[in-house]
């Protein structure tokens, strides 16, 4: 059961949250001006890293605010939480215990 630090409410159980996929994917400003490939990239393709991922969460059974987190997808370790619109924290490359 992940323990998540909502930037607005504090530490809460995973069950109060919903995962929103990879963060920092901006909707293209002029969809009509971009190619099918670029549009397809926006709606379908995600990085899915083994390691550090910047991702979105929403405190759906709490304050209902969206925010961002940095998580190591191998160890499930959270390396930081920040509000939407804030700069992501810099994460150094690090060795993690592989499961």
């Amino acid at each position: 059961m992940l323990l998540i630090q909502c930037p607005f409410c504090g530490e809460r159980d995973l069950t109060e949250f919903s995962h929103g996929g990879e963060a920092h994917i901006t909707r293209p400003a002029n969809p009509d001006k971009i190619s099918d490939e670029e549009w397809g990239d926006y709606i379908f393709f995600r990085t899915n890293p083994k390691g550090i991922q910047y991702e979105r969460w929403i405190h759906s059974h709490g304050c209902r605010r969206w925010f961002n987190a940095v998580r190591d997808t191998v160890s499930d370790e959270f390396l930081g939480f920040y509000k939407s619109g804030e700069q992501p924290p810099k994460i150094k490359r690090r060795k993690v215990l592989r499961k």
């Binding site: 159980d13 969809p31 009509d32 209902r64 969206w66 619109g85 993690v96």
Partner: protein, 1012 residues
């Protein structure tokens, strides 16, 4: 004789409180403080169960949750519990238990015939034997389940109450043995919030099985335990959870525990307390002090009743005052079993020690010899006699290679074999936490290596491979202090060391399997009847991976999770494969550590507390008037209102007809309603919906469709402009929460600069929708709003009063009739409804439910999102090109319309279907094909999405009338180019129905009735 094996004194039982209990129909006596196992041993009941596969007689084996044999069915009727461990059942008065997996009785079991044919039933037996013919598998399975099953599941609902709760602490100490007590003490003294969880009825761990010779802090160990518990109980921040097993260790130090609150009292004796509590604990720091489990020795016929673990024998002697055998052979490869020999001899037992080690030396050996115990060194048991209980063992010398047997076999008469093959640290929870193990060659055991950062824990004492008492105490104190410091309490310095009796141990001699003569059964997994020969066969048949071998031989897959069998099996596999033990690898330990009843996990979340039920303000009226309900999301919605003996079909035909003839009324309160306000509200809706919103006049309504970015419809509804910057949006009933989340997501993450506020108001408003030719007449007498079609046109809203209460009335229609959706604050909902029903009598009002609602809208070809669409439908696919703005530069999903797949010809499109047989209603989901004689393989051209009997539609053959005529909507490949085509619908039962493709609008195509 009653309790013939009970010692005259000693033990932690209360001899002033005798209890009587029934096992397999026979009444016995025991004492408070006994377990069912100790009481059975006291009464010399040797055969307690039959084994899983071969139905071999089995007796009590251990004294704890590692028990693989003594598994019983506890109590009868609704309160019965299968697969309970006799070693973990605290005795209570009038307890009743029976043996499992035997018929007609545990003494004489027909299926023991399996044992005779044992060589014909090797590993993988089921897979090999029962493969063919496939049709008979169900029959085979029935026989196998009966023969190989465990206990019987109760047939009645569980009568007990359970609680599932959450709790938090700074330091969770798992296990109340010496290391755990020391850790709790050190952590507790810092003021940290500490939970000490211990599985037994009293903490103390193995110290409870000790004699007073063992000293801690200058006094008998049991005194130290009492004093330590007293000190802990005085600490306000320390909680001691007795009878509580930590069953699972999950991410971020989230652990689950099962507390057996009243199990020890017996059924119905717990008063207001729950039977069990499932506790979900979030701990900042964890100290694991889970101890170690003694390893069995794998020798010939080692599963016979009377073969027990040496430490268990000692527990029965010292803790329960029971001597399990008077003539005992202690079979060991290490020092610890000598304590059992010493304690037994002192109580008058005859003891011989068979030690695999050559010339064992050391303090404990010397003490044993001083008591006159015969020690046979470099010796092993090579055979054992006594089907229903040990009678005799054969002992032989063991060569230096560890396998060769030397010299003459020597027989020993005995009634008990106490064995010890060393110890396995109980690393289950550590492993569950993601921790890695290391093989310690000196100690001959797996010990914790490193745990993951997200689960800060410390293993102390025996579960860390530290087997001596002073070491356990020291580790406990140090870990308790450090854990508290890491949680923000104290300095991290351990309290003063606690002195304790040291018992130096000589090294053991690894002995993973004991050679024997001929084909003898040597069990490594008792619960699953898995033998050395099964592991050898698995290897021969190509199983290399430990995970494959485990599944093929069922090793470690019982309710005991291989507590006694896993390491022995790994070592034997290593020998077979010619590898070192760590090279074979370990299996993954999975929760739960001990079985957990579903009732405990469920806790209070059952029946009406399991899932929330939402009802509208009009629910009492619906119930009183005989509504038949259906679930829509969490809502209970009336499906239809049968009159007299009507079935659904008759009721729906009547309701449909009445609505088009006079006026119908439906409770529409469940529709999702979202209040949208803010200066950017119009701009926001322009992006959310496909059509234009900026110029919608105040007081006007518009239907809208929402798309995902893929261009696919995901919800629809009517939104109304109440003022310049204020909108009232409606959504589908089931989609309300999803739409609310969708709006919030875009506003928060993509367009935070937009000033728009969304509020769910679904439950603020009660809604009655009246429609039909007499709807206006009905409403006229009840409101001050001008209903003249000029003043209050279609797709408009008016505010005013209705039956004396404030109301918003929307003139919108889902039936194609003149219709009004009357919204009043929910507190007036029932008043509004009753007023309409009362005044409606004069207008032949007819109440209807969701079924009629669906028929009426299908007659008009209106889609239901999620029924007629499935997440792959664009507005164009469902014939709603008109709702897509050609002028707007952008809206969500627009760009995807020009993707090649979305723009291609021949996509599945919404059409109507008329069956040739007007009385046959197609099943929804049925596939449309282009041949009257379908044979696989066959491509489906589409499927039926909605299908009803309609009393209002006239078919191409001119058929309609009171019995109705079948209509259907369907998604059909290239559907709009197939208008008028004849196609076929293939049914599950093999029948094929002929259909004609038509426009999906079946009734009043021009919409004259709506605008009337």
């Amino acid at each position: 004789m009653s309790q013939s094996r009970r010692l005259v004194k000693g033990g932690r039982i209360d001899r002033d409180k005798p209890l009587s209990f029934v096992f397999n129909g026979k009444t016995y006596q025991g004492y408070e403080g006994d377990t069912l196992a100790s009481a059975l041993i006291a009464n010399d009941v040797r055969v307690v169960a039959r084994s899983f596969k071969y139905h071999r007689p089995r007796g009590v084996f251990s004294a704890g949750s590692d028990e693989p044999n003594a598994i019983v069915q506890l109590e009868e009727g609704a309160a019965t519990q299968p697969d309970t461990l006799a070693t973990c059942i605290e005795l209570y008065d009038n307890l009743s238990a029976t043996s499992q997996n035997c018929w007609p009785s545990v003494e004489f079991d027909i299926n023991e015939i399996n044992s005779v044919f044992m060589r014909l039933m090797p590993a993988g037996f089921y897979y090999k034997t029962f493969m063919w013919p496939a049709k008979l598998w169900m029959w085979y399975e029935g026989i196998i389940r009966k023969a190989a099953g465990m206990g019987l599941a109760p047939k009645h609902p569980d009568p007990d109450r359970y609680e599932a709760i959450h709790t938090h602490c700074d330091v969770l100490v798992v296990g109340g043995g010496p290391a755990g007590l020391a850790a709790a003490l050190a952590a507790g003294r810092t003021g940290a919030r500490v939970i000490l969880a211990d599985a037994q009825c009293e903490p103390g761990g193995d110290l409870l099985a000790e004699t007073d010779e063992l000293e801690i802090a200058g006094e008998a160990a049991s005194n130290w335990v009492s004093k330590t518990l007293a000190e802990l109980r005085d600490m306000p921040e320390v909680r001691i959870l007795e009878r509580t097993t930590i069953t699972g260790y999950y991410d971020y130090n989230w652990l689950t525990a099962l507390q057996k609150v009243t199990d020890h009292m017996g059924p119905d004796k717990g008063g207001n307390l729950p039977r069990q509590r499932f506790i979900k604990i979030r701990a900042r720091q964890v100290v694991l002090a889970t101890g170690a489990i003694e390893r069995p020795l794998v020798f010939a016929e080692n599963d016979r009743p009377g073969v027990m673990m040496a430490s268990a024998v000692r527990t029965y002697i010292n803790r329960y005052g029971v001597l399990p055998g008077r003539s005992m052979v202690v079979f060991t490869n290490n020092d610890t079993a000598y304590q059992t020999a010493i304690d037994a001899v002192r109580l008058g037992a005859q003891v011989t020690v068979v030690d695999a080690r050559p010339a064992p030396q050391g303090d404990v050996v010397t003490r044993a010899e001083a008591l006159g115990i015969q020690i046979m060194d470099r010796s092993v048991i090579t055979n054992l006699h006594g089907r229903m209980g040990v009678k005799c063992v054969t002992v032989q010398h063991l060569g230096e290679d560890g396998t060769t047997l030397l010299g003459k076999p020597i027989p020993f008469s005995c009634d008990l074999v106490a064995m010890s093959g060393g110890w396995n640290p109980t690393v289950h929870l550590f492993s569950q936490s993601g921790g890695k193990l290391r093989w310690d060659d000196d100690k001959t055991m797996f010990v914790p290596l490193a745990g993951p950062a997200i689960n800060p824990s410390r293993s102390v004492g025996c579960c860390n491979g530290t087997m001596d008492l002073p070491g356990c105490l020291a580790e406990g104190l140090a870990a308790g202090s450090k854990a508290a410091k890491d949680a923000g309490f104290g300095t991290g310095r351990a309290p003063k060391a606690i002195k304790a009796t040291a018992r130096p141990e000589a090294p053991l001699r690894p002995l993973w399997e004991v050679s024997c003569h001929g084909h003898k059964s040597r069990f490594h997994d008792f619960q699953n009847d898995s033998k050395v020969s099964d592991l050898e066969l698995a290897s021969l048949e190509g199983m290399v991976s430990v995970e494959h071998t485990k599944r093929y031989t069922a090793t470690g897959m019982g309710t005991d999770q291989g507590k006694t069998s896993n390491v022995n099996a790994l070592a034997i596999m290593a020998r077979i494969q010619g590898r070192e033990i760590p090279a074979v690898g370990t299996t993954t330990f999975r929760p739960p550590y001990t079985p957990v009843s579903f009732g405990a996990i469920t806790g209070q979340d059952r029946r009406e507390l399991f899932e929330q039920v939402r009802t509208t303000a009009m629910q009492p009226w619906h119930v009183a008037n005989g509504a038949v309900f259906e679930d829509v999301g969490d809502w209970k919605r009336p499906r239809y209102f049968p009159q007299g003996s009507e079935d659904m079909h008759a009721a729906v035909l009547r309701e449909c007809k009445a609505t088009r003839d006079s006026v119908g009324i439906v409770d529409a309160s469940t529709l999702g309603k979202i209040d949208i306000q803010g200066p950017d509200a119009a701009k926001f809706l322009e992006m959310i919906y496909t059509n234009a919103w900026a110029k919608l006049g105040v007081g006007r309504c518009r239907y809208g469709v929402m798309l995902s970015e893929h261009g696919m419809i995901f919800d629809d509804g009517v939104t109304t402009r109440l003022s310049d910057n204020h909108y009232h949006m409606t959504t589908t009933t089931g989609g309300a929460a999803r739409v609310m989340g969708w709006l919030e997501e875009w506003l928060q993450t993509e367009w935070p600069e937009m000033e728009v506020y969304c509020t769910s108001v679904t439950e603020q408003w009660s809604v009655a929708s009246i429609s039909g030719p007499k709807a206006r007449d009905l409403l006229a007498g009840l409101t001050d709003i001008d209903l003249d079609p000029e003043a209050f046109p279609f797709m408009a809203v008016r505010e005013g009063s209705f039956a004396g209460v404030p109301a918003r009335i929307f003139r919108i229609s889902f039936t194609g009739e003149v219709a009004y959706e009357i919204n009043v604050p929910t507190c007036y909902g029932l008043h509004m409804w009753e007023t309409l029903m009362e005044h409606g009598k004069a207008h032949d009002i007819c109440v209807y439910g969701t079924e009629t609602l669906h028929v009426l809208r299908a007659e008009k070809g209106f889609i239901i999102v999620g029924q007629d669409t499935d997440g792959t439908c664009t507005p164009m696919d469902v014939g709603m090109d008109w709702i897509v703005s050609k002028k707007k530069a952008d809206f969500i999903g627009k760009r995807s319309f020009t993707r090649s797949d979305t723009a291609r010809e021949g996509r599945k499109q919404l059409v109507g279907l008329f069956t040739d047989d007007p009385s046959f209603v197609l099943p929804e989901g049925a596939h449309i094909v282009d041949t009257a004689t379908p044979k696989p393989p066959l491509r489906a051209l589409g499927h039926v999405t909605s299908s009803y009997m309609s009393p209002n539609v006239t078919g191409p053959d001119g058929v309609n009338g009171d019995k109705g005529r079948s209509i259907a909507m369907a998604l059909l490949q290239d559907g709009r180019n197939r208008m008028g085509d004849t196609l076929y619908v293939a049914l599950m039962d093999g029948r094929v129905k002929t259909v004609t493709v038509t426009d999906p609008v079946f009734f009043d195509k021009e919409g004259e009735r709506t605008h009337g």
